[in-house]
Symmetry: C2
Subunit: 314 residues, 2 copies
Amino acid sequence: MARIDITVSEVGPRDGLQSIDRVVDLETKKAWIAAEAAAGVPEIEVGSFVNYKLLPQMADTAELVAFACGIDGLTIAALVPNARGAEAALAAGAHKISIPVSASETHSLKNVRRTHAQMIEEVRAIRALVDAKPEGERPYFEAGIATAFGCTIEGHVPLDTVTRLAEELIAAGAEEVGLSDTTGYANPRMIRDRIRAVHRTVGADKLTGVHLHNTRGLGLANAAAALEEGITTLDSSLGGLGGCPFAPGASGNIVTEDLVFMLEAMGLKTGIDLDHLMQVRELLMAGIPDEPIYGFLPDAGLPLGWSDERPDAA
Amino acid sequence: MARIDITVSEVGPRDGLQSIDRVVDLETKKAWIAAEAAAGVPEIEVGSFVNYKLLPQMADTAELVAFACGIDGLTIAALVPNARGAEAALAAGAHKISIPVSASETHSLKNVRRTHAQMIEEVRAIRALVDAKPEGERPYFEAGIATAFGCTIEGHVPLDTVTRLAEELIAAGAEEVGLSDTTGYANPRMIRDRIRAVHRTVGADKLTGVHLHNTRGLGLANAAAALEEGITTLDSSLGGLGGCPFAPGASGNIVTEDLVFMLEAMGLKTGIDLDHLMQVRELLMAGIPDEPIYGFLPDAGLPLGWSDERPDAA
């Protein structure tokens, strides 16, 4: 397998699709996942084990996990909001499960009707479920700290709320925490400061990934800042799917195409073939027509001489 | 005057307007410049002293310089393609003049029909013109190295072409060089590497500003990288005016609103009031209707609690 410096984790089938009203059929999702894996994307969050009455877009997550398990070399991630969801994810065979825990307790109460203490209990329960599996069948279990850079309800989220939560999540049995800029409030300085603080608190090996949104256009600047702090996994969404349709510029996740371009241009290997990835974008647009799709690179194209050696760009 | 950490230099009236077909009337330009200065923008490139037959959009540059000279505290910059343009800029009373010199000689020949050697002669001639003015009336004279990160005709532009050109431009009498990502080919690593190399060659005080485009979405990531290398002046264009109308995502200059947001969010003072700047955007849209305008912040709005103290974001 080719060298990979930075893992780009595609979250479009989960975060992108759960942000749009439309329910995309299983075959379209399968084709998308298979095509991205074929383009070299090493990890895909295929769905969320939520209450399907609330999020019908995610009703086929178990089938998607089972399908994706047939793709050689792909890490299959799934979101789980609680222990019940984790149970389903374990049964389906996900390689990696992630529970979002909001640093803003107000946001947590509004979103999942649970306090921090209750969420920590869920993490403990999930740890027990994971440990009950035979070794070798246990998924990697992480907790994503949502609203880690600010909250649309609380506004400023104090840094020590984030570091304390990180500590509690690790103590409760998460193998790792991630930092999520759910609201697009982060900036490069805050990214560096908060990653450093969490690294100091729980250790650098316990925070290796961030989940960024491009709401205010700083997504890639924040990603570049995260790289400087040693982050090695970055979430993104093909075509920025799920960006707010009412505010064309206020997109959701950072765009996979642009992120991969930035990383590869910086000489960081992602294992992803950009030309191939652009074709997957076409497939996505055909499969989910009328849904707005974002990204700068697809409009501008690759720089002249892209495939040549780039002696001092790399 | 308020503390300014980073100078945001508005180039929309020059780079934005010269990129669109429409010729905007003098009064609209005056209102725009006055409004941006009132919002706290410390420096504005009001136009270019070019051949007005080729660029009728710039025909009123001398009048704009004269008008802007009446605005207290504003630094008035103008682009000059050659010594003849510099003569006009000096007569008009610009505070700062900038000659673009393309690192790609092919681009230089195509753009201004001059070799590097011929451009160096122009710089020498401009130096003589500046020196002929009485002390205290001399504008600041810089040379902007265009295509410093790659060229749409030559592709890769070797780093030593850039450092050698920087050295020659300073030797010929430019007080400073700037690096311009004319083509949107730069990435954060390249930005850092090339700024460092030029700093090593001519001294850090001889390169304090960069001119970035957002063609492939990396504009703000590149700006943040430039800050890390000690850059203190960043060019940008209100609403990203002048972005390619055929490729909505492939905009031109980085967007002033988004740049100022990033800087202020990072705790770097720009002297610019963001709410006020958003009103100038409205004015621009009203003054130049039908012209596409970009930016993420205007769609998403400022984060909740923006005007409060931001203890660890600053």
